[in-house]
């Protein structure tokens, strides 16, 4: 199973194995990773699963669709490497992915 590393803004990190097909958000929720709220449950409607993706992974991810980019406008302190973790579907290609949660989600 692909390993995903979740870091918080204090640099504490936790690496877990997440099943292919789940999203980075679901991996966090199912493993009690703090810092990802996912209030809307993954319907791309709230921006509380916002993460910063480690730069080198950015190009390996499918590009964000317009609705996701629009939603990221609403996120807390968005940056160039901001993504909504509910839109990142885990596959073998993403083994080793590192994401950082923002200081807060709202």
């Amino acid at each position: 199973m692909p390993k995903i590393t979740y870091k918080d803004n204090q640099d504490n990190s936790k690496t877990i194995e997440v099943e292919n097909g789940l999203t980075v958000m679901e991996g966090a929720i199912q493993n009690d990773i703090p810092g990802i709220d996912a209030d809307c449950g993954g319907s791309m409607a709230c921006a509380t699963c916002h993460v910063y993706v480690e730069e080198k992974w950015l190009d390996k991810l499918p590009k964000a669709e317009e609705a996701e980019v629009d939603m990221i406008d609403m996120a807390y302190e968005p940056k160039k490497n901001s993504r909504l973790s509910c839109q990142l579907i885990i596959s073998d290609e993403l083994d080793g992915l590192v994401v950082t949660t923002p200081e807060k989600q709202s």
Binding site: D37, D39, C40, G41, S43, A45, C46, A47, T48, V69, D70, D73, M74, Y76, E77, P78, K80, K104, S106
Partner: protein, 337 residues
């Protein structure tokens, strides 16, 4: 203090269907919601997105679902209290006293919490001093546009609210529109109007940049914005309008002594009562083994909760299960002859 059979917190689809299930049993409910209209997440988060899993409705939008539910509960003439949040819940023997942030008070033997993920509140700016100016010269909505005349206004956001208010307020104030990227999200007509105003020098647009600091003492004097390349620019500003959408906050619900698990309230799956007798939770906010956050699950949950509500509201009457197709009582309550 108003006396009711049930106080429903939340006017989303589940809260609305609760009115129906209570109404056909002859119970009077009142509904309180922090938004300015019914529909909850359906209206606020995805009014135009189709929903495909409402039984017997192959496809409908959040807005249509809300409209149909409102139609379905019309016969019960229920009172709605919008733009109000329940702040306090207190026990008074077999009743609950519910108090809102606008000092409305209700008493009822039952409360149904159908609060979704909490009440919607504007997403606030996080820079230093933002709180200090809030409500004085920093606003998250426009209540009375006359208060925004002859000002230097900086508007933040890239969506409909930011664009619409830029157009409207530019008629009588100097507007700077600030967004973190160069693309705006709005109707084509709105976008071309904005472009026109900028070309004519009537408004100023700053992208891609974000708010860095608010400068001033008692009043806001200027703001500093930071561009993606690190450059900082100071803009003369006396009023800030920020439109970064809404977030959901659980708020005071956590203080009512209910057993909670993260952001959800524990209930039993027999009648969806919480650990407090007479307080029920249904829809996205409740949790029990096997819970699914589906609208249809919420409908089932309030149907069962309404039976227990009846027993508590009418302790001297016997509850009789009836079908809408055959019950004269129900048909009378629905205004069908």
């Amino acid at each position: 203090m108003k006396k009711k059979d049930v106080v429903i917190i939340g006017a989303g689809p589940v809260g609305l269907f609760a009115i129906h299930q209570l109404g056909i049993k002859g119970l009077k409910a009142v509904v309180i919601d922090n938004l300015d209209k019914a529909g909850g997440q359906c209206i606020e988060l995805y009014p135009d997105k189709p929903i495909y899993d409402i039984p017997a409705v192959p496809e409908c939008t959040g807005e249509e679902l809300t409209k149909n539910l409102l139609e379905q509960i019309k016969p019960f003439n229920t009172e709605f209290f919008y733009n109000e949040r329940v702040d306090e819940v207190k026990q008074d023997k077999d009743n609950w006293i519910v108090k809102t942030n606008k000092n409305n008070e209700f008493t009822a033997p039952n409360i149904i919490i159908a609060g979704g993920v909490g009440s919607f509140e504007p997403r606030k700016l996080s820079v230093k001093d933002a709180e200090k100016y809030e409500g004085k010269s920093l606003f998250y909505s426009v209540k009375n546009k006359d208060e925004f005349k002859n000002k230097n206004i900086s508007i933040f956001g890239g969506g409909d609210s930011a664009l619409d208010w830029t157009l409207e307020l530019s008629k009588f104030s100097k507007i700077t529109l600030i967004h973190r990227r160069s693309d705006f999200r709005g109707a084509p007509h709105t976008l071309s109007e904005i472009q026109k105003l900028e070309n004519e020098g009537k408004i100023s647009i700053k992208t891609p940049c974000q708010l860095d600091s608010i400068n001033g003492d008692k009043n806001i004097e200027s703001i500093s914005i930071k561009f993606d390349d690190g450059k900082i620019e100071k803009i003369k500003t006396d009023t800030i309008l920020s439109f970064f959408g809404l977030i959901m906050k659980l708020g005071p619900i956590t203080e009512w002594g209910l057993n909670m698990n993260k952001k959800t309230i524990d209930v039993n799956s027999e009648n969806f009562e919480t650990n407090k007798k007479g307080i029920f939770a249904a829809g996205d906010i409740c949790s029990y083994p096997g819970k699914l956050k589906l609208i249809l699950s919420g409908f089932h949950e309030v149907a069962l909760a309404s039976v227990e509500c009846f027993k508590r509201a009418r302790p001297n009457e016997k509850y009789r299960f009836e079908f809408t197709t055959s019950s004269k009582n129900i048909q009378n309550r629905l205004g069908k002859k």
